[in-house]
Amino acid sequence: MRHQLTLRIGPATFRIGSAWPAPIAQLTSLYATYPQPADAIADFTVRLQPTSLVRRFIHPSIFITGDHGLADAAPMSLSHGLLAAEMGMNLQMALGWRRHLLLHASSVEKDGRVLVMTGESGSGKSTLAALLGERGWRFMGDEFALLDLESGAILPFPRLVSLKNRAIGVVAGEVGAARMGPLLAATAKGDIRHMVPRADAVAHMGQGAMPALLLFPRFGHAADMRAVGQAEIFMRLTQASTNYVALGEPAFTALTRFVRDVPARAIDFPTGEEAIAMVERLWEEMA
């Protein structure tokens, strides 16, 4: 590929190639504080290639693929190239990572213990992790929490935080323009803007910690809190994992231990501020 970048995020190294310069330039600048070892052996190759010869030049259109890909992946406009690169890296992790159990969850750490938040897209887990990361917690990741199969620790995967729609204004106001990426308007998931995690999150991205609380956040509802049964937690976490089946029995054992040892609550909240107050209170009581 004509343009390329090697990038390390948490335990994974990506070699990203692109037919166009723009996505690589944006990645290089937004990931400036991350290791970018040009001569590293990568765990995964990501390719941003034209959907056809013509689409390299006229109405450029990106097909996201790599070591692992989906034949029916929707093409993306070059103006959303940064998002395409992020999706390409996520795709490799989701389909190819085998060294930890992947949980589709955000995570933050305080006093050597981890808060894990899982939920569907739009549940508020990314925004909550981003806001907590600005208020005394260490941000560990907004997309994947990596559960170590032997120690039971959660390891960070602190890529750029992907903020959507209303969350953009809330977080941008708090962190300032210097740590925000370009606005990607009208993507398939609405407006998206990326946020660079704080320097401490990147500096400690090799450092895991034991999980102490699991939350199922849900944005846009009146404030409420519920206990969740262990069987339901187990089922929801298997559904929130892309490699649970592939890892087989070790994943079952690790997840069983996680569900047994980590207290959990479902929380509903109408605003980010209320959510943070609820999280801090639960952390005091339960973790």
Partner: protein, 329 residues
């Protein structure tokens, strides 16, 4: 050309000592794209590799072990479903290699379960699989009718709860192909594994792998098929193989596969012009895992259709598919 690097490494694992990081990245990307990463991982098991490569290879070995376990379980489920029919169920390709403990199994990617059954048992087999929970994948009446009239297999089925595909064959080439292998003889000479499951005789395994690679299809995954053939050949008797290949009408293809396997994975062979074109197609992959030589690859795609269908039928088929919005990749 990184497919060439992959081939060289499979032939001579010690040659990786000379690779730099960029070479390793190319090798790994090409191996993944050709679905030979597990095979590569086994080949490199006793070779010193950089620390960053070790977890990549051990992940690939673990994936291969899981695939073999799942494949054998699917074979067991099929045997359970088809046992009452009392027909021979012959395992094909990856599952057969795993079940029979052949060298070609090491690290091999295994996708669907492929079985061969007597043509007269097809209707009963289909019924028994449906009762046991398999269901149709294709909901397109044209595709369904096409399979039933012209192909050598039932339309693919998938198990409703295990999400695994099964391909039920009654011979090894489409009925429209120019060669007509003797499927009844293959089944009659198959070797029992127990539980009503069988594998083809060593010579028929080669004939089947060769038919699949060189007399059918567009050489997608050809490097992996040729790797299988390279190992399968080692278990055959040359005289028996020659006679068997002739009986199935595939003597030319088997000899060609022997030359290609020796040229790419063995100690070398004199290649014809046609062999060289196939080799160029097999090696059309760069260090990013991307297909190269687009025109050649497309020519082999066209050839695969040409092999399967007489011209008028091909024209009608392509027209039907085009109207449905299908475009070659």
């Amino acid at each position: 050309m990184s497919a060439a690097l992959l081939v060289r490494t499979l032939r001579d694992p010690a040659s990786v000592a000379a690779l730099d990081a960029s070479g390793w990245n190319s090798l790994i990307a090409a191996a993944r794209a050709e679905r030979l990463i597990g095979t590569l991982a086994f080949r490199l098991a006793d070779v010193t590799v950089p620390p960053a490569v070790m977890p990549i290879l051990s992940d690939a070995r673990a994936d291969a072990a899981r695939e073999a376990r799942q494949a054998l379980w699917e074979a067991d489920r099929a045997a359970q479903a088809l046992g009452p029919l009392g027909v021979r169920v012959v395992l094909l390709k990856g599952t057969a290699y795993a079940a029979a403990g052949l060298k070609a199994r090491q690290g091999r990617f295994i996708g669907d379960l492929d079985i061969l059954v007597p043509v007269e048992a097809m209707a009963a087999v289909e019924q028994a699989l449906i009762v046991a929970g398999w269901e149709w994948v294709k909901d397109d009446p044209y595709d369904d009718a096409y399979y039933r009239q012209w192909m050598h297999e039932l339309p693919p089925m998938i198990h409703a709860t295990r999400d695994r595909m099964i391909d039920v064959h009654h011979t090894i080439l489409p009925l429209t192909a120019r060669q007509t292998p003797d499927a009844a003889a293959m089944i009659a000479d198959a070797m029992p594994l127990g539980d009503g499951l069988y594998v083809l005789s060593p010579e028929d395994r080669v004939v089947h792998a060769v038919a699949h690679m060189l007399a059918d299809g567009d050489l997608q995954g050809g490097l992996r098929n040729l790797w299988d053939i390279h190992h399968l050949l080692a278990d055959t008797e040359p005289n028996i193989l020659e006679a068997r290949a002739a009986r199935h009408g595939l003597g030319f293809h088997v000899r060609q596969a022997q030359r290609l396997a020796a040229a790419l994975y063995g100690s070398g062979a004199r290649l014809t012009l046609w062999d060289r074109l196939i080799r160029a197609r097999l090696l059309a992959r760069n260090g990013w895992g991307r297909e190269t030589r687009k025109a050649l690859v497309f020519a082999f795609f066209l050839r695969s259709h040409w092999l399967r269908m007489p011209p008028l039928m091909l024209a009608r088929h392509l027209w039907t598919k085009w109207r449905k919005g299908h475009r070659p990749q």
